[in-house]
């Protein structure tokens, strides 16, 4: 008796959900990111408008002045959905943990140059309140924004900022102790050099247009703060006292390099949609950038002294280059 083995190829009748296929076109196999993102936003069968905002539906694209023909035009180049996001962050966290362990085991914090330690504690620790503000703002964008393609990454961003605040706290505990955190909070509340930045952060809490908030927080404030602190100041302190501090803020600098790709892509998409969008975003960008530069100047002067101007100029130049690439003139 002879048995023939053969392969039977079975064509699936459909490769994905109908709502995903409507976005992608027929017979295109979607990635998991696309399946987890496209048309996930709830938009139908709400009978009543919310009592707290009767002018809008519960999920309403009209809460920003920006208009998009399709809110799923926004793409996250990192293709983050819950699975990929948690895997990526778990990796970064593992690296950060081993960096902290390394510094602790070798006692590098105790032997760290006292002058550099003072600058690091005075400048970095109050930034945990800024990170908390960024967490609030991104949560707000997620709550009032429209379209999973933009709201989901904002929630990831919010959680990242919370993580950054925690890493800054641990840095303070490692270098000095709990009293360092209290001192940093007092500086944030009362220190004259911190008040312009605190005003910026607290003013963003009451921005009602969520895309303006996105520009003010994710593009402008992060766009100047991170290069200033985690590139310029970090480089200056490394020259002065070696790479210990760099290891402890590695999460922040790697995180910024990664997330700015997403921020740039989002701005680019919104600007390319229409001339009205471009004008609105350009106006917000210019207004908030001026405020951010003014707010960060005293911090730069406190941390970098004579090099403050050059460092701030370099950080702003980096932001301007990104904005130009995204289509903002």
């Amino acid at each position: 008796m002879q048995i023939d083995l053969r392969t039977v190829s079975i064509q699936p009748k459909r490769v994905t959900f109908d709502h995903v296929a409507e976005e992608l076109g027929p017979n295109k196999t979607p990635s998991r990111y696309q399946e987890a993102t496209l048309r996930v936003q709830a938009d139908a069968n709400f009978h009543y408008r919310p009592t707290w905002d009767p002018d809008h539906e519960i999920f309403d694209p009209g809460r920003t002045a920006i208009t998009m023909a399709n809110w799923y035009t926004f793409k996250d180049p990192r293709q983050f959905y819950y699975g990929t996001y948690t895997i990526a962050r778990a990796r970064m966290q593992e690296t950060a943990e081993s960096d902290f362990d390394f510094v602790e085991q070798r006692g590098l914090a105790e032997t760290f140059d006292p002058e550099a330690r003072r600058i690091a504690l005075e400048t970095l620790l109050p930034l945990r309140h800024v990170a908390w503000g960024a967490n609030m703002n991104n949560s707000s964008i997620c709550a009032y924004g429209y379209g999973t393609a933009i709201t989901a990454p904002c929630m990831f961003q919010a959680m990242d900022q919370l993580g950054i605040a925690q890493y800054l706290s641990r840095l303070g505990l490692l270098f000095e102790g709990p009293e360092a955190l209290d001192a940093a909070k007092q500086a944030w509340l009362d220190g004259a050099q911190w008040q312009p930045l605190r005003r910026y952060v607290e003013d963003t809490f009451v921005v009602s247009d969520w895309f303006e908030l996105y520009v003010a927080q994710n593009l402008v404030l992060d766009g100047v703060l991170y290069p200033l602190v985690y590139e310029q100041l970090d480089a200056a302190l490394t020259t002065q006292a070696g790479p210990t501090l760099s290891m402890l803020v590695r999460f922040q600098s790697e995180w910024f390099t990664e997330t700015r790709k997403w921020v740039d892509a989002t701005i680019k998409t919104a600007v390319a949609e229409s001339a009205e969008n471009a004008a609105l975003i350009g106006g917000w960008f210019a207004a908030w950038k001026q405020r951010a530069v003014d707010a960060l100047r005293p911090i730069a002067e406190q941390a970098l002294g004579a090099q403050a101007d050059a460092a701030l100029t370099a950080a702003v130049a980096q932001l301007d280059a990104r904005a130009a690439k995204a289509g903002l003139s």
Binding site: V8, D76, T84
Partner: protein, 89 residues
């Protein structure tokens, strides 16, 4: 004219790789089989790291190709950024 081809196991990642190959090689044709996908191209085929990175949304080491690779034909010219199959030698 001779043909080069490369075959991968079907997976979430190899889909991105195949999309990248098709984008960079206008003459390439794809041949889907059960659990395997094969890409043929006349004379030469180039796989670019940057295109794969765009498709996958993360950084990619071209050596990761081998995790999905089943077989290929042609002489290989490999750098950090490009993986080229051809009969050029």
């Amino acid at each position: 004219m001779s043909t080069v081809f490369i075959a991968f196991q079907t997976s979430e990642e190899s889909r991105g790789i195949v999309e990248a190959i098709l984008e960079d090689n206008a003459n390439a044709t794809v041949n889907e089989q059960p659990a395997m996908v094969r890409v043929d191209a006349p004379d030469t085929m180039t796989i670019n790291r940057s295109t794969i990175e765009d498709k996958l949304g993360r950084s990619f080491d071209l050596q990761e190709l081998h995790l999905h690779l089943i077989t290929l034909t042609g002489h290989i010219d490999e750098t950090d950024d490009e993986f080229t199959l051809s009969w050029a030698n």
